[in-house]
Symmetry: C2
Subunit: 348 residues, 2 copies
C-alpha cells in the first residue's frame, strides 16, 4: 500500500516536472520564434544616424544644439527648433498643430525630431528630403521662423558675434561659414545624434527578458494584427507613404476639423490623395496628440482608429491594451547630452 | 671709478626695488580699500535664497523644475515659465516685452528668474510680493498662462496623472496636494536655488585677483559715478523702488513707444508715477534688451542713458566701457541642475 502510494507520488512528480519542462521549452521556443519573427520586421536603432553628406563632428553638434535653442534668429524672436520640439516632451510640443512666428498655425502636428533623421523624408507629407533640408527650409517657412530669405538668416546669425568662432570650428576652411546652409547642417548633425534606444532594442538584440510577457503578447498582436506591415524597420515606421483611411475616409473616425489632401499637395497626383508618411512609432507614448492633425489625444483610441481605418479590424479593449503595452516598450532613453541646454552667446 | 659705478648701480637698484615696493604697497592698499569700499555696498550671493514660508526640499525642486517647463497647463498649450525664462538665455527671452498665451503681449520685459527670489518684490512695478506669488498669479494672468481660475489650473495638473506622486512627495500629508498653491510653491522653491555666483562674488569674499584691473577700475567708476547708490546689495539692485527719469523724462532717451506710469498703477499714489523697482544687474550682460519695455538692446547705450536720466552725468566712451567691463563681471555660473531639462510625464 505504502509502496504503491510512493510510486504514485513519484509518477505525479515526474509528470509535473515533465509538464514544466515541456511548457518551459514551448515558451522558450515561442520566445525564440517571436524574436525570429520580430527580426524579420524590425532592426535595432543605430547609435547615431550618419550621413555621408553631413558628417557628425563634435564641433558641428555643439553649434547645432545651440542654434536649435536660439529664438533670436526668427522674425519675431519667438521661434527656435525647440519651440516645436521640446526635447523634454520627447521633441514634440503637445499641441495638435504647431504654432510658429506671430502665432501662425502650422498645417500639421509637429513630429518628433528624435530618430527622425532615419526616415525616408521629413514632415507628414514628405515635402522635406532630409533633416538638413527641414532645418534650412524652416528658416524661411512662413509659419516657422518666417524669415524673408536665407540672406536674412545669415545676417541674423552674424549679428550674434559669439557664433562666428563656433561656425569657423564646425566648418573649417570656409571663408564665410556663418550662413543658412551651415545653420542647417549644424542643427541636422545634432539631430542625427538624437537616437533613443528602448527596451525593444534590447529584445531585438536577443535579450528576450527585455520585454515583459505582456509586452511580447503585444508585439505578437502588433505583427499579427497587421500594424507591422507599415510600421517596421528601425523606426517602427517612417519608411513609406500610405493612404490614411484605406478602409474608409479617415475623418469618419478621427476628430479632424478639416480634411487634408496629404501628399497630393506635393505631387499633384491623384494616387497621393490622403497619402501621408507612415509615422515612426518610437516614443509614441510620449508624443500625444496623434495623427497629422493631432486630433486624437489618447493613445489607445489612436490604436483602435488605426486598426479600423487601415485594416478594417475592430480591436477589443484587451487587444488594444496589449498593443499599447508593446508601444510603450518603444519609449526610449533620451541622450544625456540632449537634456542639457546650452548657454547661448549674448547679443552684441 | 669702478667702485663709484658699482655704488651708483647699487643705488639705482635700491631705488628701483624701493619704487616697486612702494607701488606694490599702494596697489595693494588701493585694492584693499576698493574691497573695503565695495563691501560697504555689496554682499556676495547666498548659496540659495531660503524662505521660512516655503522651505527648499529636493522633492519640491524636482517637481518645480518639471512644472517650470510644462506648457500643457496653459490655456492654449504654449505657455510655461520657461517660455519667458529660457534658462539658457539667463532666464529671459530676448524679447522687448514677453509674449504669452495666444500671442498676447505682456505689459513689460520679462525679468530673469535667476537670483530673483532675493528681491524686495517681483515684476517691474512690484505687483507680485514673492516668487511664490508670481508663479501662482502667472497661472491666471491673462497674458501669461491665461487660465480661468486656480481650480482650472488644478484640474489641468490633475489630468497628467504622472504628477500626482510627485506632488505627494513634495507636499507630504496633504490630502489633495495637486493644486495651484503647491504648483507655485514647487516652482518657487526651484527658483530659490537658481543663484548664479560670479567673479564679483569671489572679489567680495577677498580674492582681489578675481576682478581684472579694468574690472576694478569699472567697479570704482560704478561706485563713484553713483550707480551703486541704487544698485547695491547681493543682487546689485532689486532692493528699492525709484523714479525712472530723475533728471528728465525717461522717454527722452529710451526708445519707448509709450510711457508707462510704473508703480502708480499699483498704489495710485502720485509719488509712484514713473517709479519702478530698481532692477538687479546680476547677469545684465546676458539679458538684453534693457529697461521695463526692452527698448534699448545695447548694454553700453543702456549704461549711458541711465547715467543721464538718473544722475545727470554724461559718460564718455572710456568710462562707459569701464562700467560695462565691471558689469560683465556680474555674469555668473548657471547651476548645472538648471541646465538639465526634466523629462515630463506623458498625458494620459
Amino acid at each position: 500500500m505504502e509502496t504503491r502510494m510512493r510510486n504514485r507520488n513519484a509518477i505525479t512528480l515526474l509528470l509535473a516536472v515533465g509538464t514544466v519542462l515541456v511548457v518551459a521549452t514551448t515558451v522558450l521556443r515561442a520566445q525564440g520564434s517571436l524574436l525570429q519573427r520580430a527580426k524579420t520586421v524590425f532592426v535595432p536603432l543605430p547609435k547615431v544616424i550618419a550621413s555621408p553628406d553631413n558628417p557628425i563632428t563634435p564641433e558641428k553638434t555643439r553649434l547645432g544644439k545651440m542654434l536649435f535653442y536660439d529664438t533670436r534668429i526668427s522674425i519675431d524672436g519667438t521661434v527656435s527648433c525647440f519651440k516645436c520640439h521640446w526635447v523634454n516632451l520627447y521633441a514634440t510640443d503637445g499641441l495638435p498643430r504647431a504654432i510658429g512666428n506671430n502665432y501662425k498655425l502650422n498645417p500639421r502636428n509637429a513630429p518628433t525630431v528624435f530618430n527622425a533623421a532615419g526616415q525616408v523624408s521629413q514632415h507628414w507629407i514628405g515635402n522635406r528630403t532630409s533633416v538638413e533640408d527641414q532645418a534650412k527650409q524652416a528658416l524661411i517657412g512662413p509659419p516657422s521662423y518666417g524669415l524673408a530669405s536665407y540672406d536674412d538668416a545669415a545676417k541674423r546669425l552674424q549679428a550674434i558675434s559669439g557664433y562666428r568662432p563656433l561656425f569657423e570650428q564646425a566648418f573649417p576652411g570656409e571663408k564665410d561659414p556663418v550662413n543658412a546652409n551651415n545653420f542647417a547642417k549644424a542643427v541636422a548633425a545634432w539631430e542625427r545624434t538624437l537616437v533613443t534606444p528602448a527596451r525593444f532594442d534590447d529584445f531585438l538584440k536577443g535579450d528576450t527578458q527585455a520585454l515583459s510577457g505582456a509586452g511580447q503578447t503585444g508585439l505578437t498582436a502588433f505583427i499579427e494584427t497587421g500594424c507591422a506591415g507599415c510600421h517596421g524597420g528601425a523606426y517602427v515606421g517612417g519608411r513609406i507613404y500610405a493612404k490614411f483611411g484605406l478602409r474608409q475616409p479617415y475623418a469618419n473616425l478621427t476628430h479632424s476639423k478639416e480634411v487634408d489632401v496629404g501628399r497630393f499637395a506635393v505631387t499633384n497626383k491623384e494616387k497621393d490623395r490622403y497619402v501621408f508618411k507612415v509615422p515612426m512609432l518610437r516614443n509614441v507614448e510620449m508624443t500625444s496628440p496623434y495623427f497629422h492633425d493631432g486630433s486624437v489625444p489618447e493613445l489607445a483610441n489612436a490604436v483602435k482608429i488605426m486598426a479600423q481605418l487601415q485594416l478594417g479590424v475592430t480591436l477589443d479593449d484587451d487587444r488594444t491594451a496589449s498593443l499599447v503595452t508593446f508601444l510603450k516598450s518603444l519609449t526610449g532613453q533620451i541622450p544625456d547630452d540632449a537634456l542639457e541646454v546650452p548657454v547661448l552667446p549674448p547679443e552684441d
